[in-house]
């Protein structure tokens, strides 16, 4: 969400909002005028009441056209017809039978106020004041003429004058304050855009960190753990593949297609192991957990799989890849820390969510005791899954084992 209106739109928006405010007030005035006329017609059986209500109704309908179409034609039509209505209303109201001393009365104020609040075609302070002044002037002239026709005393209508005054104050204030540079100075929109960019950058940085954790850091840890001796061929192959990926490719943008890369598929094919990996025809086109199986194989971990891999087809390729990468990190964690040679991988789909659980019967751990500098679970697992609107739950008991459940909603990028 962005905060407020930008400077270049404020003029038009404020002008339209003020015009709408005027229309609402005008409709209420005309409604009350019609109501009073109808009460007179019904209660006192006064035929002039019907005429008064019709005049107010006609003005209200014309104002509706002005509000709806915002054209010069309808504005002029409303002003001319409205002036005619005020003239007719003056002749009706100033009948001596009603006992009004002069045209300074509330019944004549109602249509006149509605005439001032025409709003009119176009936006901006000057044009609005022009239309409003025309409405005031025409109403004034119509009342004067009506009083002459009716032979009544003409007097300036204070309520109409006050309405015109309020109208002028509001419009002039709007014009004066809008010309100041407060909106531009505050730079809320620039700030909003900047925040958006920072959020995108942070998002990519998290992904990039997770990737570096999985690749460079993982290899460094493997080399340190291996100690002196011949270089493991799988480690060599992994370093070669990942160096090419880090240095030579746009991996930050391509991560969504990571699982589909030829090199990955090739590695997956080589890592095929009939005992541990389901490889039926259905999983050839749907997303798979290739990285998870490859990681298990490289780590020498036997992975028992339950559930149907085809449920991964419910996920978009990017989301499936993120789930695969997170599960792979869980498997690596089992191999590194659990002290066991096997783990279980359960895959399921329920309630619109795909779940992958990685379970082991290893040494277990207390999450609160995990060192501050350990970032695998945080970046490679939690951050990835949370970026896909998913959740990670970890149950671990020392001496019993660990279960990590990764859940992501179906669909996704």
């Amino acid at each position: 969400m962005t905060l407020g209106l930008p400077g270049h739109l404020a003029r038009d928006s404020m002008s339209r909002a003020l015009a709408h405010a005027g229309h609402c007030a005008a409709w209420v005035c005309l409604g009350i005028g019609a109501l009073i006329s109808l009460i007179g017609a019904v209660v006192n059986a006064d035929p002039a009441g019907w005429a008064g209500a019709a005049l107010c109704g006609a003005m209200a309908l014309l104002l509706l056209l002005v509000a709806r179409f915002d054209s010069v034609t309808f504005t002029v039509l409303y002003l001319v017809a409205g002036a005619g209505a005020v003239l007719a209303a003056t002749v009706l109201v100033m009948d001596p039978a009603y006992g009004f001393e002069s045209t300074n009365n509330v019944l004549l104020a109602l249509p006149r106020v509605a005439l001032i609040l025409v709003g009119g075609a176009g936006v901006g302070t000057a044009i609005a004041i022009t239309w409003g002044t025309l409405g005031y002037g025409l109403g004034l002239a119509a009342t004067f003429l009506g009083a002459m026709i009716a032979g009544a005393t003409w007097a300036p209508n204070l309520a109409a004058g006050m309405a015109f005054g309020i109208f002028l104050v509001v419009r002039i204030y709007d014009g004066v304050t809008r010309s100041s540079d407060q909106r531009r100075e505050t730079g809320l929109h620039r700030a909003s855009q900047q925040n958006r960019e920072l959020a995108i950058r942070h998002d990519y940085e998290l992904r990039a960190t997770a990737r570096l954790h999985d690749t460079a850091l993982s290899h460094l840890v493997a080399i340190a753990a291996a100690g002196s001796g011949p270089v493991d061929e799988r480690l060599r192959e992994g370093i070669r593949r990942d160096l090419g990926l880090i240095v030579g490719r746009d991996w930050a943008t391509e991560h969504a297609h990571f699982a589909d890369e030829p090199g990955r598929n090739g590695a997956a094919a080589r890592a095929g192991s009939p005992g541990s990996r389901p490889a039926d025809a259905a999983t050839q086109t749907a997303p798979t957990l290739e990285q998870t199986f490859t990681a298990a194989e490289h780590a020498g971990l036997e992975l028992r799989v339950t559930g149907d891999l085809a449920v991964l087809g419910a996920l978009g390729p990017g989301r499936a890849a993120a789930l695969d990468q997170a599960a792979a990190q869980c498997v690596i964690n089992v191999a590194r820390h659990a002290g066991v040679g096997e783990a279980e991988l359960a895959i399921g789909f329920a309630g619109g969510e795909v779940t992958v659980a990685v379970m082991d019967s290893g040494v277990g751990f207390d999450e609160s005791e995990v060192g501050e500098d350990r970032i695998g679970l945080r970046t490679s697992v939690r951050a990835r899954i949370e970026q896909e609107d998913g959740t990670v739950r970890v149950w671990s008991t020392k001496g019993i084992g660990t279960t990590v459940v990764l859940t992501v909603p179906e669909g996704g990028r």
């Binding site: 962005t2 407020g4 209106l5 909002a17 007030a25 009350i32 990039a208 570096l212 850091l217 501050e372």
Partner: protein, 379 residues
């Protein structure tokens, strides 16, 4: 958020702030109207004390409205609207008492128009529904007064007509206020939807560039030692003890570098950006990552403030300290004045924007520095 729960001060904070003076003008006009009308119908006044109390209540209502709407006291709450309207209605009752039994003309009573003017003046600060409710309830109270006055009026018309006539001012002005509030919020939300769509399109263009720059910066983290080391191990036949030790050291270094990256927040990124582009020191002290608890609009408000402070020589150094003081989070911004130090009025504008997005903000200025303290309760 929807139109029923939003007012202009929330949807368009700057618009709300610029409207502050219209409340003072509206209050002054309301008081002026009340005085003129009272003088004009003084011959009908039977209780001068009540008439003066009525004018006093109008003045108090106007002062409460004007003071409550100042940016320093933002946000304007619905309770304040009801207080102002309550005082204005009390003024109308006092006016009724002042002319009781002798009020020949309702047309020259000020109650209805004064209430309406105050409601209209407060339109930028209230939801359209609360403005409409205030107008309708005031009109209902005034109707009871009309029934009481009906016996003394000069014209013989149905009581319903008198009620309608007397309510015209308050109802039409309240309708104008509600119409304005509805329309400006509607316009703002429509713009925001449009802006968000445009931002989403722009995001797609931004992503590629940002991704590349992130990749380059991350690769540069590795470039000096990690990549050459791994490249050296790859073709080797054996790993030596030194290699293993070196790998361990590099792993620790890299882990720390990655950890620092993970724990940085948008505020750290903003500070780095400002430091780079504005060439002033911007230090963020956020040990618990509390900056991430701020909502999107709150981040924008703080970003706007920090960007503005760091621009045009207003300050020479900025320090942002975040602390958790349950249940509130406190953000303290201290800035050393530059060649063109900020004024209180300018800072109040940002404080009012902050208040509009559910942050409490206090501003303190001295000749040498500026302190803005913002607190909030995370969702």
């Amino acid at each position: 958020m929807n139109r029923i729960r939003l007012s202009q001060q929330e949807a368009d904070p700057i618009g709300g702030i610029t409207a502050a003076w219209i409340v003072t003008i509206g209050a002054a006009l309301a008081l002026g109207t009340a005085v003129v009308q009272t003088v004009a119908h003084w011959r009908e006044v039977v209780s001068p004390v009540a008439a003066i109390i009525a004018l006093g209540l109008v003045a108090v209502a106007g002062i409460v409205a004007a003071v409550s709407a100042t940016p320093q006291r933002a946000p304007f709450t619905t309770e304040r609207l009801w207080l102002v309207v309550g005082l204005a209605v009390a003024a109308a009752v006092a006016e009724y008492v002042s002319t009781i039994g002798a009020n020949r003309m309702l047309y020259d009573d000020f109650g209805s128009i004064v209430i309406g003017m105050l409601i209209l003046a407060l339109a930028p600060y209230c939801t359209w529904l609360s403005l409409l409710a205030a107008g309708l309830l005031s009109a209902a109270v005034l109707s009871f007064l009309v029934v009481g006055s009906a016996m003394a009026t000069a014209v013989d018309v149905p009581i319903a007509s008198l009620i309608a006539v007397n309510s015209a001012a308050v109802l039409s002005l309240s309708a104008a206020a509600a119409g304005y509030s509805y329309a400006i919020v509607d316009e703002t939300l429509a713009w925001q939807r449009k802006a968000n769509r445009a931002a989403l399109q722009r995001d797609a263009e931004l992503r590629a560039g940002i991704a590349r720059s992130v990749q380059q910066s991350q690769v540069s983290v590795l470039g000096r030692e990690v990549l050459p080391f791994l490249a050296g191990v790859m073709p080797a036949d054996r790993i030596s003890v030194d290699d293993a030790d070196h790998a361990r050291e590099l792993a620790e270094t890299l882990r720390h570098a990655l950890k620092a990256g993970i724990e940085s927040t948008w505020l750290d990124d903003l500070a780095a950006n400002l430091q780079l582009t504005r060439a002033i020191d911007v230090v963020v002290d956020d040990p618990s990552g509390a900056a991430d608890d701020l909502a999107s609009d709150q981040r924008s408000a703080l970003t706007a403030l920090l960007s503005w402070l760091s621009d045009s020589g207003r300050t020479t150094a900025i320090e942002v300290v975040l602390a958790i003081d349950p249940p509130r989070h406190r953000i303290t911004i201290r800035a050393v004045n530059g060649a063109a130090p900020p004024t209180r009025r300018e800072l109040d504008r940002f404080a009012a924007v902050a208040r509009a997005v559910a942050l409490r903000a206090e501003v303190a200025l001295t000749g040498e520095n500026v302190k803005v303290e913002v607190t909030h309760v995370p969702d």
